[in-house]
């Protein structure tokens, strides 16, 4: 009996995971989550998580702005600026609004402004993680 049950266990362990159904939410959640931080979770009724993510990413981006941080542009030609832009663009709507309003264009001449620049870049990178998490929830890989 014991031997038989062991064989069955090994067989179940080797079985390939069931395919995950691809739904419209799997496209919508990461897209809106990128545009507005936390919204990818909120549209899937993860209210507490969504609000905490929204507050965290918004707070980091706005604190970076308040510290006179720099918002990178896409076509400066400098590799470090391009990397900064990749981070910034992760903030989605926040980046678009800041560019439209002309925020974060001043020259950096204080240490806190450099911190602000890093806050803005990291807010974008964290928002990408949030959007990927919203995608995983939509696929059912995560509760």
């Amino acid at each position: 009996m014991a031997g038989k049950s062991n064989v069955q266990d090994v067989g179940q362990g080797n079985r390939a995971p069931a395919p995950v159904p691809f739904t419209a939410m799997a496209v919508v959640a990461p897209a809106v989550g990128w545009l507005v931080p936390g919204l990818g979770h909120l549209v899937q009724k993860r209210w507490t998580r969504g609000l905490l993510l929204l507050i965290s990413v918004f707070a980091m981006f706005l604190l970076g702005m308040a510290m006179q941080g720099k918002v990178y542009s896409p076509n400066t030609g400098d590799i470090l600026d391009i990397l900064g832009f990749v981070g910034d663009i992760g903030a989605g709507g926040l980046y678009i609004v800041s560019k439209a309003m002309g925020w974060g264009q001043g020259a950096i001449f204080r240490a806190t402004a450099d911190y602000g620049t890093k806050y803005i870049v990291v807010a974008g990178l964290l928002n990408i993680i949030c959007a990927v998490d919203a995608y995983h929830i939509a696929l059912g890989k995560k509760r």
């Binding site: 998580r49 965290s56 980091m60 604190l63 510290m67 911190y115 806050y119 964290l126 949030c130 509760r143």
Partner: protein, 60 residues
């Protein structure tokens, strides 16, 4: 608006918000999220204090 934060308070706020996002996105249950967020926060702050002491030792 012009916000002037000290090195430590800037690192503290950074650690707080990054830990919240890490905790929520890297774990499945609420309890695990809280524990992992607290763990990340402790590592961030521990790293800041350690780096501060290393810089102090290099200077002296």
């Amino acid at each position: 608006m012009n916000l002037e934060l000290s090195h430590f308070s800037a690192a503290l706020l950074f650690a707080l918000f990054a830990s919240i996002v890490f905790g929520i996105t890297q774990r499945n249950t609420a309890k695990e999220m809280l524990r992992y967020g607290a763990y990340c926060f402790a590592l961030f702050i521990g790293g800041v204090i350690l780096a501060g002491w290393v810089m102090w030792l290099i200077k002296h």
